[in-house]
């Protein structure tokens, strides 16, 4: 875990509410794995107060990228930053996806809903470098929520898109699209990130098909490195069910360990 208070923004792209920042931070870049995240300080003042978590979208030797959607004040301010500005970032944090050699020669699926696509670009490259055949399922409300479609295609990934309004690709939920397509092939593993209802649907599908699945979970985070106990989810561990800090033990968990419906008070 590295604190880089002077990470320079060296590139920026924007599609409506979605932004991509390339950030120069060689020390974080060299250690980063797909599924890990960084905590970004939005301002040196006290509002917004806490750092915000973002998945590592991509990296090379010197730089990392984050891809985000404006959802509030923090992401709003971050979207205003320009090339040349510096950011205070902490990372790489958490435990990422298992994208190793065991998947060589196998079919694997990565499903992303909306901004949940963020960690899957890095993951897709890693999977391909280990010789896995990756199919990307990318869903959103409308075509405007699929800004990375072209980039995945240009990089030669097999892409399956869906939109709720039918403005692009399959009309309906990405989980329904996946379920339909799973009649024709049987992936060795599914990786998923997106809104919780989407992930819950995918958990049902992968369970009934007995397909090992990894999910990247989200929570409000106070610190990102295990000090506040603020980011817990219900997780099964060694046959024991409890609140687990997702910044430390996640954010990626195996589907069978996640208890989706949290006890209603």
């Amino acid at each position: 875990m590295i604190k880089d208070p002077q990470a320079r923004i060296i590139g920026k792209e924007n599609w409506k509410d979605y932004y991509l920042l390339s950030i120069e931070s060689p020390r974080i870049a060299t250690q980063a794995h797909p599924g890990q995240f960084v905590m970004v300080r939005i301002t040196s003042h006290s509002y917004p107060l806490l750092r915000r978590p973002f998945s590592i979208h991509f990296k090379d030797e010197r730089n990392i990228e984050i891809f985000f959607k404006i959802t509030g004040s923090g992401t709003g301010i971050l979207s205003q930053k320009k090339s040349g500005d510096t950011l205070d970032i902490l990372g790489p944090l958490g435990k990422g996806f298992h994208a190793g050699e065991t998947l060589r020669g196998k079919d694997v699926v990565a499903v992303g809903g909306g901004r949940g696509i963020a960690p899957l670009y890095f993951l897709a490259h890693e999977l391909r470098s280990h010789g896995a055949a990756v199919k990307i399922f990318y869903g959103g409300k409308s075509h405007e929520d699929l800004p990375l479609k072209a980039k995945f295609e240009e990089n030669g990934f097999e892409l399956f898109c869906s939109t709720d309004d039918g403005s692009l690709g399959f009309k309906g939920l990405i989980s329904d699209y996946l379920q339909t397509e799973l009649q024709t092939f049987n992936p060795a593993r599914i990786f998923a990130c997106g809104p919780e209802p989407m992930m819950e649907k995918i958990a049902e599908i992968s369970q009934s098909g007995d397909i090992p699945t990894e999910f990247s979970l989200e929570s409000v985070m106070g610190c990102g490195f295990g000090a506040c106990w603020g980011c817990v989810k219900r997780i099964r561990k060694n046959n024991h069910e409890g609140w687990v800090k997702i910044c430390e033990e996640g954010p990626v968990f195996s589907g069978e360990d996640i208890i989706w419906t949290e006890v209603e008070k």
């Binding site: 875990m1 604190k3 300080r41 006290s46 509002y47 917004p48 107060l49 806490l50 750092r51 205070d88 902490l90 929570s219 409000v220 985070m221 106070g222 610190c223 490195f225 295990g226 000090a227 506040c228 106990w229 603020g230 980011c231 817990v232 989810k233 409890g242 609140w243 949290e262 006890v263 008070k265």
Partner: protein, 303 residues
């Protein structure tokens, strides 16, 4: 060379900067960022006798310049703390303070009794803001008699100094401070978080799983500082001030007001090196203003 040491009477600190309970994990979470022995001390996460799961999420919500938490004091309990964590903390050359919790008076005493057998703890900080399960969730910190009673009991049990941590959610903080002093507290620390809620207007329900939470961060500093101002004038024992400190200047406001030391809370989340920067800023202030010793700054507030 500025002398940053502080003598609390019962312990000497390298400097007046202590990391606050619940915001510094068990300390080890911060070891990747800096050498923990540079701190004046740190207070570990609140410990009950047995392990506890804590509250259902969401546990945190951010508000303007503040943070409301309803973590619910999850923890490993005294046994695992003593077996697995304390041995690692003993190697760190700084004051290690254990934040002691209890669901009733007896539990506070049993935590202290258990830990008294273990080496490497400098002092206890009694978190008397824990809800008492037997008394309708009322915490001792809200009542001067309950405060007196739990502090006296713990003092009888403990061979170590006892810092009593006060709650701001009272009408008259001085009254509670005086009871803790009378019961034998060696020092006071103030304040814990301010009782607060936040409402989700789309869902029209409280944001936090626990409904209520505690507000901390820069938003509370004027209030916590006011309480420190009121208390230092009336008690003889040392006061450790906290609430919204994120810079050396914030810390100085408390020291000048009369706090002998400060605790840094929420700021640790935003900048894990916050405490270290604050120590540096205190040193700079002393040098720039001709103070040879930080002790000479304490309580110098003019009327």
């Amino acid at each position: 060379m500025t002398d940053l040491t502080i003598d609390l009477g019962f312990i000497k600190l390298k400097n007046p900067v202590i990391a606050a309970s619940g915001t510094f994990g068990y300390g080890l979470e911060f070891a990747p960022f800096f050498d923990l022995s540079k701190l004046g001390g740190f207070v570990v996460k609140g410990l009950y006798f047995s392990p506890r799961p804590g509250n259902p999420p969401p546990r945190l919500v951010e508000t303007p310049s503040g943070l409301i938490n309803a973590i619910g004091l999850p923890g490993v309990g005294v046994r695992r703390f003593a077996d697995e964590i304390l041995p690692q903390l003993r190697k760190i050359k700084t004051a290690i303070i254990v934040n002691v919790c209890g669901e009733n008076e007896e539990e506070y005493a049993s935590v202290v009794e258990f830990l008294d057998k273990e080496e490497g703890i400098s002092a206890y900080e009694l978190n008397i803001s824990c809800p008492n399960v037997e008394k309708d969730g009322l915490c001792p910190a809200l009542d001067s008699e309950a405060t007196f009673s739990v502090v006296s009991l713990v003092k009888k049990t403990s061979s170590r100094p006892v810092i009593t941590k006060l709650s701001p959610n009272v009408t008259d903080i001085v009254e509670i401070a005086l009871s803790a002093q009378e019961a034998g507290a060696d020092a006071l620390s103030l304040v814990n978080t301010l009782l607060a809620i936040a409402v989700d207007v789309e869902e029209r329900k409280p944001v936090l799983g626990n409904i209520f939470g505690g507000l901390s961060g820069p938003a509370i500093k004027p209030i916590s500082l006011r309480m420190v101002y009121q208390v230092v004038r009336r008690v003889k024992i040392p006061v450790i001030g906290m609430g919204g400190i994120s810079s050396g200047r914030d810390a100085l406001e408390y020291l000048i007001t009369g706090a002998k030391a400060v605790e840094i809370g929420t700021a640790n989340f935003i900048d894990p090196e916050a405490s270290i920067k604050i120590i540096e800023e205190l040193k700079d202030y002393c040098e720039e203003n001709g103070f040879e010793r930080i002790e000479d700054v304490i309580g110098t507030i003019k009327r």
